[in-house]
């Protein structure tokens, strides 16, 4: 999994470096020094100030970076991270890893499949809410109300197309990475019991708690959020939302 500097701060240590780095410091180039997971995968020297080092440890980070490199390319991700404030780079890496893994699992839709599923849920809930509110309006009338309209037959909504998908500009701006691992709101591909070889993700030394297709991503997000100090709170318990990340 991704490794965070031991003294987590807004500015991860920039002393990530090659084999001479000390494991007692804040650098994250792997246990006992050595290249970070990204440089290990790329088979290149992990230099001081390697932009990937704080986020991809040498053990399990290489596997995650492999997915990122396959989908986005190391150069692209490096450029992307360079344009992001340091304190936001961890979140960026998490979401990039998530998208990369989603794309590898679903080469056609990637995480858009998840968005489709959620959008459909929103549509269904809003339809149900509209019906109930109309029904309530009839109940509140002082005169004997007419018979409530019969329940609407379930009409499958038209299939969504990508052009129907929302953009961030039209949605309320609150970000909560814990949504990545809400099991009630995951699309079908994350709930399927796809056998996952732990060696693919964990280097053989650790198996994720859930072995479903999305379990390792959920574990990743959960661990990072826990370290970040933002434990997940299910929405049905009346949670407070983390502060707006923007």
């Amino acid at each position: 999994l991704l490794q965070l500097p031991r003294n987590m701060s807004a500015n991860p240590s920039s002393s990530a470096g090659p084999s001479g780095s000390s494991s007692g410091g804040g650098n994250s180039s792997g246990v006992g020094g050595g290249p970070c997971g990204a440089c290990k995968f790329l088979r290149r020297k992990c230099v001081t100030g390697c932009i990937f080092a704080p986020y991809f440890d040498s053990e399990q980070g290489a596997a995650h970076f492999a997915a990122v490199h396959k989908v986005f390319g190391a150069s692209n991700v490096s450029k992307l991270l360079l344009h992001i404030p340091v304190q936001k780079r961890l979140d960026a890496v998490v979401t990039i890893c998530y998208e990369a893994q989603a794309r590898l699992r679903d080469p056609v839709y990637g995480c858009v499949a998840h968005i489709f599923a959620l959008q459909q849920q929103v549509v269904n809930l809003q339809a149900e809410l509209s019906y109930l509110q109309a029904h309530l309006a009839t109940l509140e009338l002082p005169t004997p109300p007419p018979a409530p309209p019969p329940p609407q037959p379930h009409i499958a909504p038209p299939p969504l197309s990508i052009s129907d998908l929302p953009t961030t500009s039209c949605l309320p701006a609150t970000y909560d990475l814990s949504s990545l691992f809400d099991p009630m709101l995951q699309p079908s591909w994350t709930m399927q019991s796809r056998p996952v070889d732990p060696r693919q993700f964990a280097g053989g030394s650790r198996a994720p708690a859930e072995m479903s297709g999305g379990g390792d991503l959920q574990e990743l997000a959960r661990e990072l959020l826990h370290r970040h100090g933002s434990p997940p709170v299910p929405c049905n318990e009346g949670s407070h939302m983390p502060p707006n990340s923007r």
């Binding site: 692209n76 794309r103 990508i162 953009t167 949605l171 049905n236």
Partner: protein, 118 residues
């Protein structure tokens, strides 16, 4: 033959078998520019190459959508949209629960009134 947006951007000849051409037409340079910025043309071409032909259009659209999300929100990308949809779902579920409770209340009052009349 008119070059597709991808080949025009890369300043190369657009062959008849260009894999990007059907999905990145020359009249929409911004579409290709988005996916190239996030994925690079090579990655997009390789990803499409690995798919059956009848699925490539959807894949190209999905890649474009994700690229747009990432450009607009470099930190969270499409995960930002996911997070916000989750919030919408939570809000809608709360409102639904409240409406259901109100309906139940009305129904209970109605039954009580009926019982008193009997």
């Amino acid at each position: 033959m008119t070059r597709c947006a991808a080949c025009r951007s890369r300043r190369i000849k657009c062959h008849s078998d260009c894999i990007l051409s059907p999905y990145f037409p020359s009249n929409d340079p911004e579409r290709f520019a988005s996916v190239h910025k996030i994925y690079t043309a090579g990655h997009v071409a390789r990803m499409l190459q690995q798919l059956p032909v009848h699925l490539r259009a959807e894949a190209a659209d999905a890649l474009y959508y994700e690229a747009q999300c990432r450009i607009r929100d470099p930190v969270y990308g499409s995960v930002g949209v996911i997070s916000q949809l989750h919030q919408l779902i939570c809000d809608a579920q709360r409102q639904l629960a409240k409406a259901q409770a109100e309906v139940a209340c009305f129904n209970a009052q109605g039954e009580e009134a009926t019982t008193q009349l009997q």
